[in-house]
Every structure is written in C-alpha cells, then in structure tokens.
Amino acid sequence: MTHAATLAAGMLILLFLVLIASQLLRLSLPALRTFGGRFFVSSVWDPVGEQYGILPFLYGTIVSSVIALLIAIPFGVGTAIFLTEVAPRRIRGPIAFMVDMLAAIPSVVYGLWGIFVLAPLVSQHAAPWLEKYLGFLPLFRGPSYGVSMLTASLILSVMIVPYITAISREILLTVPDDIKAASFALGATHWETIWKIVLPYTRAGIGAGIVLALGRALGETMAVTMLIGNQPQINVSVLQPGYSMAAVIANEFTEATTPVYLSAIVAVGLALFAVTLLVNLAARLLLWRMRVRPIR
C-alpha cells in the first residue's frame, strides 16, 4: 500500500515535469516558427514592431547569476567554515539560525530593501568609486541610476548565501575528527587543516550547494525585476541596467495581447527552463567528475 502510494507520488512528479515541458514547447512553437534561430540570437525585443529576440534576457539572467555566485561563494563558504570550525560553540546555533532566516525573507521584501537602501548606495557610493578606480575596465562605466545589473547581482548574492552556507555547513560537519587530528598531530595549523584537509574532503558537497544556489539565482524573479532596470539591452558595464528572462515574463505577460507576443513570452519561459536544466546538468557532471577523478 505504502509502496503503491509512494510510487504514485513519484510518478506524479515525473508527469508534472513532462507536462510542463510539453506545454511550454507547444505554446512557444508559434514564436519559434516565426523567428527561428533569430529568436535566440537577436537583441531586438520590440513588441510594437513584432520583433522578438531574447539575447538580452539570456545575457542578463546568466551574467547576474554568475556575478551573484562569485560574490556569494566566499561569503557562504566562509560563513560555513566559521560556524563549524572557528566560532565558539555557544554562538554557532544562533548564527546558523540567523543565516537560515535570510532564506525565509520573501523576495519582494528583498526587492523593496534593494530599491530603498541598496540602489541609492550603489548609485551614490559604489558606482562612483568603481568608476573612479576601475573605470578603465569597460565593466565599470557609468552613469549609474541605482537600478543596474550590479544591484540585482548584489541582492541575488545575499539571497543565495544561506543556501550555500546551510549545505556547506552540513557537509563540513561530516569531516571525520580523526583526519583533522592527524593533520594537527603533524604540526599543521588550524588554517592549513581547513585548506588542505577539510575543504578538499568536502569540495563535492560544497559544489552541490553552489549548484543549488545557482539554480535559485537563475530563476529568481521578483527582487531582480525590481532592481535590474528592465532595459532589453546588452551592456558590458554592470553599472548599466539590464533585463532577465524571469523579469520579462513577470513584467509583460499581462500585456501580451497578440498570439505571437504571448507565444514569445512563453518561449522565454521555455528558454529559462532549458538554461536552468542545462546549468544543473553541467554542474552535476562537473561534480561527478570531481568525485571519480583519481586523487593525487
């Protein structure tokens, strides 16, 4: 009985996945037929002129997520190491709880905080500083209006840190005390033991946490929509506005009055689905290779 029930539950999930994918595909076919490959490589998104190219959204989604990840990894893993190896025992629980709470804040609240606190900070302090000292790089050319790729990436990084921390912490706790003791007994410092024993031992698990966080960042909608600037352009400078796939769906699905427009919006959803799936597959493959690679 239990057997049959759990099997049914499992099959239902599978059915759901297939259903979502097939319906997305069916509804996006009109747009994909009309524009073909151009749909994915054109940067012109012009509903009035009935031209739909999603490259700016692809770019915005991937770049904002990658930047967020680059910021969140050191903080997330660092916090996990602090909580398992460094912090006095009695403050470990409370701090871990607070980090977990970060994941419980609704994303629209992150968005609001971003608009009223983070965006002004970026436009008045971070952007001018970056422009002044790193402005020779095309990555940091102004002017900044507050809402930008950077602002969205920053808020995303805060949102995904708890995922990285929570999983890394669980994994770090699995490191056997006896191999740490062996390292100390050879005259290793705490720092050397963390870098050369603890982190190599846990890299696959920490990698898995990072993949989960990346998946979360790719799909995050509300906070990004409120902060990325919503301009369908590809700007090399992260101080300029951008757009993401999730944001364009959220902003425009109510306005999509023509069949082709609606189909184009659904096709963006399909592309987002595909990107998330591909990133996850690639990361899993990487993790798997990491695990089976003979250690030296």
Partner: protein, 262 residues
Amino acid sequence: MVSGEPAQAEMLDSKMSTRDLNIYYGPRRAINAISLSMRRNHVTALIGPSGCGKSTFLRALNRMNELIPSVRTEGDVLLDGNSIYDRSMDVIDVRRRVGMVFQKSNPFPKSIFENVAYGLRINGLSDKRVIAEQVEKSLRNAALWDEIKDRLYTPALDLSGGQQQRLCIARALAVEPEVLLMDEPASALDPIATQKIEELIHDLKKQYTIVIVTHNMQQAARVSDYTAFFYMGDLIEVDETERLFTKPSRKQTEDYITGRFG
C-alpha cells in the same frame, strides 16, 4: 617506582618526562600528579584497564589534549629538558618533534604519496625531488614501500587496514620526529598485521623514542623495554618490562597482569 619515589627521571637518559602532571576534564581529574620518564631510543609501554588515563596521558605529550576545549593541564612535560608547555614553545613545533599514530588508522582521503608528503608540504618543503626522496624513505622505514611502490598515486583508503596503519606511521615519520607516540596502534588489526607493526616498532626504536599505549599485555611484553601501569588516573608502577611482568612490586599491578581484574 611510584610517583612518590624520585630518582627515576634522573636515572635514565630521559628523552621525555612528565612532572606532577595533572589533567582535568572539566572538574574531573583524569590524571593524578604523574611523574614518568621515557628513555631515549627505548620503547615505553603504558598499560592499564580502559579509562585509566593512559591515552589522555599520551596526548599530553604532544599537546593534543588542547584540541578538546574542556581539558586543563597542570604540571609539566619536558622534551630534552625543556618544557613543551612553556610560552616560548610553539605547539606546531612540539607536534612536529613528537609524532603520533592513532588507534584507528586515519589516512587522509588522498593518494598514498600525498599522505606521506602532507607533513613535508605544511612544513614548507616544496622541492619535488626532496619530497619524493623523503616519501620513499619514510615508506621504507614503515616497511610499506615494497608493497605499494607501484601504486603510490592510488587512494590511500584502498589499502588494507594493516597497510593503512603502516602508512600512518610513514606519514608520522616523514617529518622526522624525535619521539613517536602510538595510541593502541594495532588494536584494530588482525594478528599478522599486528605482528608487522610490532616488528616495525622494534626497528624504529633505534632512531626514535617510542611511547605506546596498549591494553594488550602480551604486546607490551613483546615490544617494550619499560612498562608503566596506570590505574584510575594514577601511575601505580613503572619498571623494566621483564621485571614488571615477572616480579611486580605492587599488589594492584600483580592483580592486573595476572588477569584478576581489568
């Protein structure tokens, strides 16, 4: 010779010795004012029933007890006459000079080669040729080289239990310690692997001062030159191994070695 009788420390050519060593776990005292001397290039065995403090005592000799937050140590431990608990003594240096082999073999999840090279690398050695030479030498000293020389780069965890323990010995030897502490190194091994470890201990004492914890009295009798009997945190008696096992001076020692308790 009980802790009350002095002299013992002075009589021997002492490599390591403790003076009125007290160790507490929180409020509980686990080691009671133990003064014991360990002779250079000899094997000292620590025997006694479970919970008698012999492992705690052993870990005081390379300051491993400091990793347990509730442990407090009083008294002194001397290495070549210098206190290892002195402020001027670096704990890293102490542990490099006083190596340790654990009860359960605990190789790193790295290759055989990297296990042995680890201690060299953290001590700042980077010359590949020197590291390779030292790794080979250590593996030879641990009587493991011939068995694994063709698979140095395979995972250490693929080795058998006995091989893993000898690898752990090689790993400890690689940093060229002066003293080797062994905490029941053969308790998890089969008789043949145990015999290999015991032969190894016999060879190693030419170069090292060895302190071994064991609750196997036959093993203590086979490998050690001196045996110290611990009971409930006290050092009851220490003597040349042969004498301690044939003519113990204390009733408690006699009861223990004849199997009347413990």
